[in-house]
């Protein structure tokens, strides 16, 4: 560990230069290694590793959100595709890497918190990477404070605050992502500041900038929340660049381009690269296939691709097809019909056509098959050579099992009376004429006469008589419609909507002339074998879009909290309770450090306001260098707190206390630096300074004491009695569990 060269009086006592050799001797000796080791840094690192890594495999049970992330780790091990809206894939992949190194085979059912791990699962390796990241945050904070140009004592203070923060320890010791996120964010800021502080001459410093870009990409890749810190860093960097442009003594073009590449291009490419790994790892079909488009599904092994492999590409007259709605809301489904008619009268007294129902059905079924027919001929088989259907052609669709024609007419649809009913029509009923012609409108066509393609083309079926468009309304029908989804034709053709699009999913050329044969043919599975691929970019864009738009049911959680409660630590989260004893783990912060953090935030704002107003009136309380240092501290620390806290006030999703931890880390950076500022620039009197030192010492020891006090809830051992637990309930709103015996 090579430390900093500069020495300051106050810390020289604990810094040791391993070998100090005079210049003369150096010339005489051929090979010399000079190393300086910052022992303080080593010490805090060791302590951090010890607090984060000791007894890592206790408790040997699923703790809190491990139940959530664990399932994805299992899916990685089995290489099964999934989609998770909570964040980009890098975080999951890091967890999965730990599992892979520990030889986890994915065979564990993550179904409830508190379930015991079997001996085959290496719990230690599952939790190792987040814990390492959590431990490395401590030396990073130390180094970051030095880069902010504060003293080693401040750096030590910040490191100690982080080291003794119970909530950070808890969050690091399990298979969770916050510690990884915090690590990358701190690394990004540290490497950026190191880059900024290194003298201009060396090209080597750009490797720091590159590291900064990479850790930004990693932070965003772990959780979307990383974006906030990334934007802040970009803001700081662009401010520096702006000043650089103003410096007329240097040429700036190359420097600007370098910064642009390292801080914008590299992160974006790396972010995409995470997805590339993700998608190349997960190549088997799985539980979330249904959310993706047919083309995407066909690119996964098993599932749809097993069915669609080797299908004819071009839809021709006589083709037998299943049509999947492009909308995955409310659930993915296929155009369907069955031997049941619309009721003559609905509950509300409106009448219907009493023709056969056409619905959308969310399961594979033989009744999902339709045959594409040329209105001008009676043939239901594919000619030789096949005549492909093109954009703009008019077709009829015949339901395979019941031979009804897909039909629409000026009758109000059952659930959406503003739209037209869609029915299966057969010429028994003389009172209504057939209106069963549909025009094929390929919405993602590249040429005007494009052929209708399996899986790739998204078509709209436009009703020729009324120019209404076949649409999935998304409403489920009542009992008479077997609760399937309603399909209508809607006249008001407004803009783009995925509920208007339909894709051919299963497809084969029909060969049976007779109805009986055809039914047998429809029952038989589809066949043949050709590979069909979509590009990585298409897959990436679709996956990213789905991840951002898929909304899971917003569930209220027992331990959820609102952002304003975080500042005062109004709530805690119970992570784990031993199945028979009172041993338990809670996410509770160190209340003393929490208070210190809030106070320093307040103090900085007050101080900044006073300084600003006085400077504006021409009183320069601080020399320019110190003022710059003070502003930089505010930009990074207070700015970091603001960007990681304020956005949550506007969010409507379920939030937890652990969302506050990144913001908290910034405050722990701020507190010691602010104390140092007060010590050197605000207090001139020696007694005052001494008093401050005493206060700081008292504060640090109380931080340590409260850390010790909450240790049983942090590490889950030793077990406490109900009375002791009651004593730890410092706030009435905390929820600590007792087991009655």
């Amino acid at each position: 560990m090579a430390g900093d060269v500069e020495t300051r009086g106050c810390v020289s006592g604990i810094r040791v230069a391993e070998s100090r050799i005079s210049r003369l001797e150096m010339l005489q000796r051929p090979l010399v290694v000079t190393a300086q080791v910052d022992l303080v840094l080593v010490l805090v690192s060791v302590l951090a590793l010890w607090t984060r890594l000791s007894h890592l495999s206790y408790p040997n049970a699923v703790v809190f959100d491990e139940v959530y992330y664990g399932q994805f780790v299992s899916l990685y091990m089995k290489r099964v595709f999934f989609i998770d809206d909570s964040g980009p894939p890098l975080g999951h992949m890091i967890l999965a890497l730990g599992a892979y190194l520990g030889g986890f085979d994915g065979n564990f059912v993550w179904n409830r918190i508190g379930a015991e791990y079997p001996s085959s699962v290496s719990v230690w390796s599952l939790r190792l990477l987040p814990a390492l990241c959590g431990a490395l945050c401590v030396p990073l904070v130390y180094l970051l404070t030095l880069e902010l140009r504060f003293s080693h004592l401040s750096a030590l203070g910040a490191a100690l605050l982080l080291l003794l923060e119970n909530s950070l320890i808890v969050q690091s010791r399990f298979m969770l992502l916050e510690s990884v996120l915090i690590f990358f964010v701190l690394l990004a800021f540290f490497s950026y500041l190191r880059f900024h502080n290194t003298p201009d001459s060396s090209w080597f410093r750009y490797s720091w900038l590159l590291l900064c870009g990479a850790s930004c990409a990693a932070a965003v890749g772990v959780k979307y929340m990383g974006v906030f810190s990334y934007l802040l860093l970009l803001g700081v960097a662009s401010l520096h660049t702006w000043n650089l442009i103003g410096d007329q003594t240097v040429s700036v073009c190359v420097q600007c381009v370098c910064r642009f590449v390292c801080l914008l291009v590299v992160p974006v490419l790396l972010y995409v690269f995470w997805f590339y790994i993700h998608l190349s790892l997960l190549n088997r079909s799985g539980p979330h296939d249904q959310l993706m488009s047919s083309a995407f599904q066909a690119s996964l092994q098993g599932g749809l691709s097993r069915i669609t492999q080797g299908q004819p590409l071009e839809v021709a007259y006589g083709s037998q097809v299943t049509l999947r709605s492009s909308a995955s809301q409310p659930i993915p489904c296929w155009l369907h019909s069955h031997k049941a008619n619309y009721p003559i009268r609905y509950e509300n007294g409106r009448g219907s056509s009493h023709q056969q129902q056409v619905t959308c059905y969310p399961f594979k079924d033989v009744n999902n098959w339709w045959i594409v027919k040329d209105p001008g001929s009676q043939e239901l088989v594919v000619g030789s050579p096949p005549r492909p259907v093109r954009h703009g052609d008019v077709i009829q669709l015949v339901h395979g099992m019941t031979s009804r024609f897909l039909n629409s007419h000026d009758v109000a649809a059952p659930m959406s009376p503003h739209a037209q009913e869609v029915s299966g029509y057969i010429n028994f009923n003389v009172s209504m004429a057939a209106q069963n012609l549909w025009r094929v409108d390929i919405s993602n066509r590249e040429a005007e006469s494009e052929v209708w393609k399996t899986i790739l083309s998204e078509v709209r079926l436009v009703h020729v008589n009324t120019s209404a468009v076949l649409k999935l309304s998304g409403v489920s029908l009542p009992d008479w419609g077997f609760r399937q989804l309603e399909v209508v034709a809607e006249k008001l053709f407004k803009g783009h909507s995925s509920s208007l699009g339909w894709t051919v999913e299963e497809h084969r050329y029909g060969i049976s002339q007779e109805q009986k044969e055809r039914e047998a043919e429809l029952h038989s599975p589809t066949h043949i074998d050709v590979d069909r691929k979509i590009s990585f970019w298409a897959k990436f864009l679709e996956l990213q879009w789905k991840m951002l738009t898929v909304k899971q049911e917003d569930s209220e959680h027992k331990y959820s909290s609102s952002p304003l409660e975080w500042i005062t630590m109004e709530t805690n989260i119970a992570y784990w309770l031993h199945s028979s004893t009172n041993a338990q783990i809670h996410l509770i912060g160190n209340p003393v450090s929490w208070g210190v953090a809030n106070l320093s935030l307040l103090a900085y704002q007050l101080l900044a306001a006073v300084y600003l107003l006085r400077r504006r009136r021409g009183f320069k309380d601080l020399p320019d260098g110190v003022w710059c240092q003070f502003v930089r501290l505010g930009c990074v620390c207070v700015g970091g707190w603001v960007v990681n806290f304020v956005p949550f006030l506007l969010m409507e999703k379920t939030l937890f206390l652990y969302h506050y931890l990144p913001a908290l880390c910034y405050l722990y950076l701020l507190s010691p630096a602010l104390l140092e500022h007060a010590h050197t620039h605000l207090l001139s009197n020696v007694t005052h300074r001494r008093a401050l030192c005493v206060c700081v010492a008292a504060m640090l020891s109380s931080v340590f004491l409260s850390y010790r006090t909450f240790c049983p809830l942090t590490y889950g051992s030793p077990e406490l009695s109900a009375n002791q637990l009651q004593g730890l309930r410092w706030r009435d709103t905390w929820d600590i569990l007792y087991r009655r015996r």
Binding site: I245, G246, Q248, H418, G474, K494, G495, E556, R616, R617
Partner: protein, 718 residues
């Protein structure tokens, strides 16, 4: 205009030649201004009475104007000033408030509607004039001002939106007037505390109050003025020639002019609103019982009813949350999967016979002769829904939306149910045996079997619940307004009625209550499933307009859509502006020596343009975070700022022609550019003017239509 002349004379220079030059410029300024005024009024007032039927939202705002004339109380999500002005305009021009404004398309016939439309059109006509003056003030260039004015005068969207009885022209009038006063006020910064300085300060305040009084969108211009003021004060603070006392004076003057005065006017508007609307009307149910007792014709006004709640009475029960609604039930069951399939119980904001409940003892001996017994604190009662004869019931099923509460249903027939129908009456702050006072007592209903308390969560039920408000039984017994109810109507023929002149609420209480209800109403305007939703990104690209009148070929159609040429030019210029500012500021930062002319241009771009860009951002970006339903016309205030920015940017772009060519040619290029611009605007207006002034005949996608070939985007519906 007055102060401009004064400012011009102030600056009268010593030299005569200069004076003549000034005079000439002043004359030409006046000519140009008259031209703008003339064109603006004539385009807006042309065909003002066409079509002679109700168009689009006239059905709301016209109706509300009528309510003011009839002095009938109503509820709307916007503050009252706009509708008051519409009502006033109608009243002055002889409209008698009798037209019902039921739905768009209704013919006005003999009703006098031109006054209301004309009033809106006149205010709308001021927009190009204000824009002209603002840009002139910011850029000191007549060309820029004229470009802006011509863009606004010939924009079909601005014309259409000004020609009908809508709030938007009034809102935009106040917004632009506030911005104009602000710009003029900034100009007076070297002569603080003089009469014009005070005049513009006061005008800012008045117009801010006006903007906020019409729609809450006025908040955005308040933020704009606020930021400008903060910046201004910061500048003053840095001026070391001013003493702290001077700065305090500046600060106080702004507090008075920009905070206290608008607040006072805004409150006064509401005071007038409440004084004028003193008759009961369709808005009563949204408000608390206390509020309703103010309204003539409301059954609570000078009400007389039995004073204490008694057994056998028919009552309505209102929740004490603001906009809490009446306890309500109807012949519909909870759908499958939502608790037990029993009859729905909801909270409903409107007065309705389904809000009536009968008070019974727990044992079923109802018909007693003589004076009925009174209900006391701690009594066990049963509430029977009068219309469906079901009892108010709760059980251990989870409530439909608030999953931690229990479901409340209507159960039993003809008042016969089970023990889950029993509720204990508790008067808040009362003791056992206290009587329940009608209207004044806060009552809680505790469910006997489960111990929960009757509660209104304030969440709107989905379609199966007719979008009424959820009622639950809460196991958390904290006393909140959501779990407190009062007895509002009380009918019992066997008890003597006592007049209740109680509850006159304080003015500030009314003000607060109506604001909370307005804000709730605003956020309650959720997009409906079947309607096409307008998204904020649609607006600047002019993606889709709004049908003001008429759908098919035979009807007289008006379609609100901005002149696409102008709107797309605005959008392109926005990008151009950003590039120009970026280039200029990099050049300045890098210390390149620019000539005085370029310096001036850069200054105008950054100061004036920056202000306008900020205005555009403030009036546009917040819509992205809004959950309520959005419409195309919400973009118009932002569009005004965008257009002014276009004026400044294009002017400077053309003036920078000498970067390309040498002087005589560059002047020619500049002239050619200006001519081409003018021609484009005029020709596009000629093409698209039927959008505003009415189209009949076939739709644009059919041959033979007047608009054939002009449907440039599929999403336009004309």
């Amino acid at each position: 205009m007055l102060s401009w002349t004064r400012a011009a004379t102030y600056r009268a220079p010593a030299s005569v030649a200069n004076a003549i030059e000034k005079g000439r410029r002043f004359a030409s300024h006046r000519v140009l201004l008259m031209l703008v005024v003339g064109l603006s009024f004539s385009t807006r007032l042309y065909k003002i009475t066409e079509p002679p039927h109700v168009c689009w939202d006239e059905t709301h705002f016209g109706k509300m104007g009528s309510y003011y004339i009839n002095r009938t109380f109503f509820f709307d999500v916007h503050p009252p000033l706009g509708k008051m002005l519409i009502g006033l305009a109608g009243y002055i021009t002889g409209y008698d408030g009798t037209f019902p404004f039921i739905k768009p398309g209704d013919k006005y016939e003999h009703h006098n509607y031109w006054g209301m439309r004309g009033f809106c059109a006149v205010l709308g006509s001021f927009l190009p004039i204000f824009a002209y003056l603002i840009v002139l003030e910011l850029s000191q260039s007549h060309t820029a001002a004229l470009i802006t004015a011509s863009l606004l005068i010939f924009d079909t969207g601005c014309i259409s939106i000004s020609q009908y009885i809508l709030l938007d022209p009034i809102l935009m009038f106040f917004i632009m007037a506030a911005v104009l006063s602000m710009v003029k006020f900034n100009q007076q910064r070297h002569r603080p505390f003089t009469a014009p300085w005070w005049l513009w300060l006061v005008l800012i305040g008045v117009n801010l109050a006006g903007a906020l009084g019409v729609k809450f969108v006025g908040l955005f211009v308040i933020v704009l003025v606020g930021l400008n003021t903060v910046w201004d004060l910061w500048r003053l603070l840095g001026d070391l020639s001013l003493s702290l006392v001077d700065i305090a004076k500046h600060f106080l003057a702004r507090v008075v002019g920009l905070i206290l005065l608008p607040l006072f006017i805004y409150v006064t508007i509401f005071a007038i609103h409440f004084v004028v609307l003193n008759k009961s009307g369709p808005g009563d149910g949204f408000f608390s019982s206390a509020f309703q007792s103010r309204l003539i014709g409301n059954n609570l006004h000078n009400a007389s009813m039995p004073e204490y709640l008694a057994y056998g009475s028919t009552i309505t029960v209102k929740n004490l949350r603001i906009a809490g609604g009446y306890l309500h039930s109807h012949w519909h069951l909870y759908p499958e999967g939502v608790g037990a399939r029993q009859q729905q119980v909801t909270a409903y904001l409107h007065k309705d016979y389904n809000n009536l409940w009968l008070v019974h003892r727990q044992d079923n001996n109802t018909s007693q002769s003589g004076t009925p017994d009174l209900v006391r604190h701690g009594d066990i009662i049963r509430l029977e829904h009068k219309e469906t004869t079901r009892n108010l019931h709760s059980h251990l099923h989870e409530a439909p939306l608030t999953k931690k509460h229990f479901q409340v249903t209507g159960y039993g027939t003809n008042g016969t149910g089970d023990t889950n129908d029993l509720w204990q009456v508790e008067v808040c702050g009362g003791r056992k045996g206290d009587l329940v006072k009608v209207l004044r007592s806060k009552v809680r209903f505790l469910h006997r079997a489960t111990g929960c308390v009757l509660y209104s969560s304030g969440k709107t039920l989905p379609k199966w619940g007719w979008e009424q408000v959820e009622v639950t039984c809460s196991p958390y017994l904290k006393e909140t307004p959501s779990s407190q109810w009062n007895i509002e109507d009380h009918i019992n023929p066997r008890l003597p009625n006592i007049s209740l002149s109680v509850l006159k609420p304080h003015f500030l209480e009314i003000l607060l209550e109506s604001h909370i209800i307005m804000i709730r109403g605003n956020s309650g305007l959720k997009p409906k499933d079947n309607e096409m939703n307008s998204k904020p990104w649609h607006w600047p690209i002019n993606y889709q307009g709004l049908r003001f009148s008429g759908v098919n070929e035979t009807e007289y159609r008006v379609y609100l859509l901005g002149n696409p040429v102008i709107w797309w030019m605005n959008l392109a210029t926005l990008g151009l502006y950003l590039i120009m500012v970026a280039v200029a500021s990099v050049a300045l930062q890098r210390g390149f020596s620019l000539g005085p002319k370029r310096m001036e241009h850069a200054c105008v771009l950054m100061r004036g343009g920056g202000l306008l860009l900020l205005g555009w951002l403030l009036h546009y970006v917040p819509f992205y975070t809004m959950g309520r339903v959005l419409y195309y016309h919400h973009y118009f205030p932002a569009m005004l700022f965008n257009t002014m920015l276009t004026g400044i940017t294009l002017d400077i772009l053309l003036k920078s022609a000498d970067l390309l060519l040498r002087p005589p040619y560059s002047d020619w290029l500049q002239r050619v550019g200006q001519m081409a611009f003018l021609f484009t605007v005029l020709y596009s207006f000629y093409l698209f003017h039927p959008l505003s002034y009415g189209m009949t005949g076939p739709l644009a996608h059919e041959p033979g239509s007047a608009m054939a070939g002009l449907k440039w985007m599929d999403s336009w519906e004309f």
